[in-house]
Symmetry: C2
Subunit: 497 residues, 2 copies
């Protein structure tokens, strides 16, 4: 069948699509989501069929072609192209099998991940896979297959070091920028630490957003390899690289329904560690009412799965369960958190004590775990590296290598507009609500506005007098500030008793 | 946030969509599939956000607007519109609940079906619902809720008659046009029979395709009510009406993965009977290796579910399990099947005996079931109505009322090009493969080409001599005919032993 190209002047940004009028589709016995072989001269590609109901979208005798297909065929508006029915991707049958409740083989999982990576699946097909994994669950075997397949379909870093340390926190606790402290301590101790971090999705700041206040975080792979060689570590945004690309496409269909299938989450995390060559991994599982993990039994369950997965993948694991019942650190929002970290690394008295303690504990564990410190000596060694300024120096080396300048805590730009929340009664702070703290900081403008967020003047168990400062909110818009303040005052963000 | 409209010049044909550049989306903290309130002056609508990666799709500061949204806002290219984050449809939370394995309440199912009907859900969200039903199964309560919700969200016919007869076959058997015989017999007996049929999706002909050879089948609701009043029955294409519109959208996402969740199939069938006011329903479940139901235990299982559902919905049901191991009738393809039916109704000796027998049996059951015939007298009464020509007269009245002319079997247009398949050995026909018969007829051009298909000269158990005619293939294209013939000869369509 020969049809005349209509240039749709749009890139789909994913799977290749062509659009045919519904009357033509009926004549040709074609259905939406069928695969078509599309040919112009000796160039050929496979596209997904979309069907247009009105002639306005595409009239009879024409085929609406989106940018990716035009590029593949070197075709332009008015060209004649040939179409015929092609075969659906092989992974469709595998997805059907998973939907029917059967366990998938390694070859089947590889096929699915390959087709996801190559943009061969439509949203309907990909969603079916993701929801099938969610509804039917994944076996440990399937999780391992998925992890390996994600590793193999993207770029990899191959550090020269025998020991490559890494850490991961499953998130949900505002502040909690331990990575920004632990990585420089480990680097100062001579370890190799290629830390890829994420940006905030639903939180006021991700580690990548916070590091970005101090240095560029979107670096190409080649540059990263050089930084790793020169400095021994970095803290960058993983999304800038093509590491485990299938993962982002899976998240794209998980996000609208807030599904986070456990198996997929495990595979996603472990794949991102495997691609940077991690040999020793510390995982932080904070537990608290506002965290991802609501109680200890959920955390213990996940801990077991991480341990099992580490064994199969040959990554040495330590999985710790921590207190996620209140924010860690004082600043919430990229710049405010970055300032906390700089203060801490510089030994400034204004640095948050809780962040210091948790970071030293985690750094100490990794130092012992990697053999840098003797059993029981890790915490002291980490503390020594921090106090001596070596950790700060290592951070400055990383910042400079990534393209930034030595930080000056006072010069970190915060938003100009501020509002304060004061204690309406005297008493003890018995609760700080993680989810509401995050909400107030996001309303104020974090993470898009780097200097927006809030600063906590008190922590849990603090005794306060009526009129004492509880928090300062920062925003660059009066409207946002007013709304954030209203939320902070009206909702029970801090409970005093 | 104010953005300038870019007219995308495309209708999405479903959910309302706007497209924003990824940099703007990041600034505004918006994610794909978020709902946006889109406003121009006093007009406002909710659209799904799609994110464009390249400025070619939509540059910063602009919003790509598809036809449905332009219409809703009365907006045009270059207009300034206001956008803000809206709320996701309420049904998203219900879908999540079903994904998590919980049973849905009536209110929740109604919410989902309403949002499906109103094009409020994206493919990702709708697919999640469909696959959740498939993977987790549906309770009888949920099936009833879904049926009722589908009935209530579309148009309905309200026949005046106290007894409204209907029949349904779950399909998979080529030929098998019993509806075209049973309906006129029942109408001749004075029953009201508003038969809405479907077109072929994967078969060589649906009842609607076959009836269309004799009369128009896409009639508006008002006209149908008149036909029903004047003649007592019709055979039309259900897709032309807005009956249970959610069903078609569900099928759209089921089709790519060939999922057919049992609960959804039951609800789909029963909803389409309930909307035409059926009080007495006969369901035909053919069992055979090429049919939808492969064995009797599957059929018995489905029979029980139909019976239960009928009780709850107040529709009197008879569910019969029939032999689906070979095609019924001789012609396969719309025109060839229509000719069989006309021969049969006219009492022509060339009419297929198997179709005659099965139709009389089914018509007889419905006559007894509705009280038109005494127990045990139905078959004879149906036979009498057929032999006397009353059934043929009723069919002619229906055809004319729908806008057709009295049929002349010899004038039914078959394709001009033919090819024959002959027996390569003498023996007995021990098998005719339903799926391969359907495939050959579809390759020849059915159902798009109404006169294409094949005619079976023999049936199962027939004794043939080498060189006897087995089938004649009809096509309007030599290429299609050659390919169909090749398939028919090379594959074991008919097995002689």
């Amino acid at each position: 069948m020969r049809l005349i190209v209509k240039d749709m002047d749009i890139a789909t940004g994913g799977v290749q699509v062509v659009l045919i009028n519904q009357e033509d589709a009926r004549m040709l016995d074609l259905h939406a989501e069928d695969r078509l072989l599309v040919r112009k001269g000796r160039r050929e590609t496979t596209a997904v069929l979309d069907i247009g109901e009105s002639p306005k979208a595409v009239p009879r005798g024409r085929v609406g072609v989106f940018e990716e297909v035009l590029d593949a065929l070197h075709a332009k508006d008015g060209d004649v192209i040939e179409i015929e029915l092609g075969e659906k991707p092989k992974s469709i049958a595998c997805i059907k099998k998973k939907l029917d409740g059967f366990e998938l083989s390694q070859a089947e999982v590889v096929q699915i991940v390959k087709d996801i990576t190559d943009d061969k699946l439509t949203d309907i097909e990909l969603t079916s896979y993701v929801t099938a994994n969610y509804a039917n669950g994944m076996s440990m075997k399937e999780i391992v297959f998925l992890t390996k397949a994600m590793v193999e379909t993207g770029d990899r870093l191959v550090p020269k070091a025998k020991i490559v340390a890494d850490l991961h926190c499953i998130g949900g606790v505002p502040g909690n920028r331990t990575t920004m402290i632990v990585v420089p301590i480990l680097v100062a101790a001579g370890l190799t630490v290629p830390k890829t971090a994420s940006r905030a999705i639903t939180s006021p700041a991700g580690t990548a957003d916070t590091m970005e206040v101090l240095a560029p975080v979107a670096l190409p792979k080649k540059r990263l390899e050089q930084v790793l060689k020169d400095v021994g570590g970095f803290i960058v945004w993983g999304g800038a690289m093509n590491l485990a690309p299938a993962d982002e496409k899976i998240i794209h269909v998980e996000h609208p329904l807030s599904i986070d299938a456990e198996g997929q989450m495990l595979a996603s995390i472990m794949a991102k560690k495997a691609v940077v060559g991690a040999t020793h991994l510390l995982v932080d599982l904070p537990v608290g009412p506002g965290s991802k993990l609501k109680n200890k039994s959920e955390a213990l369950h996940l801990q077991r799965h991480f341990d099992d997965l580490g064994k199969v993948l040959g990554i040495k694991m330590k999985v710790i369960i921590t207190n996620g019942s209140e924010p860690i650190g004082n600043g919430i929002g990229p710049a405010l958190e970055a300032r906390d970290c700089v203060w801490l690394l510089q030994g400034d008295a204004r640095a948050p004590k809780d962040l210091l303690k948790k970071s030293l504990k985690m750094a100490g564990m990794l130092l012992e775990f990697t053999g840098k410190a003797a059993e029981g000596d890790g915490y002291a060694m980490a503390n020594g590296i921090l106090r001596s300024g070596e950790a700060y120096d290592a951070m400055v080396r990383m910042i400079k290598a990534q393209g930034g300048k030595e930080p000056v805590a006072e010069k970190i730009q915060l938003c100009k507009l501020t509002a304060v929340v004061k204690a309406r009664r005297s008493g003890t702070v018995i609760k700080i609500d993680d989810a509401l703290i995050a909400r107030v900081a996001r309303i104020a403008g974090a993470p898009q506005s780097k200097g927006a967020g809030l600063f906590l003047h008190v922590h849990k168990h603090a005794d306060v007098k009526q009129g004492d400062l509880l928090m300062t909110i920062y925003s660059d818009s009066q409207a946002k500030l007013d709304f954030a303040l209203k939320e902070a005052v009206n909702k029970e963000v801090l409970i005093i008793q």
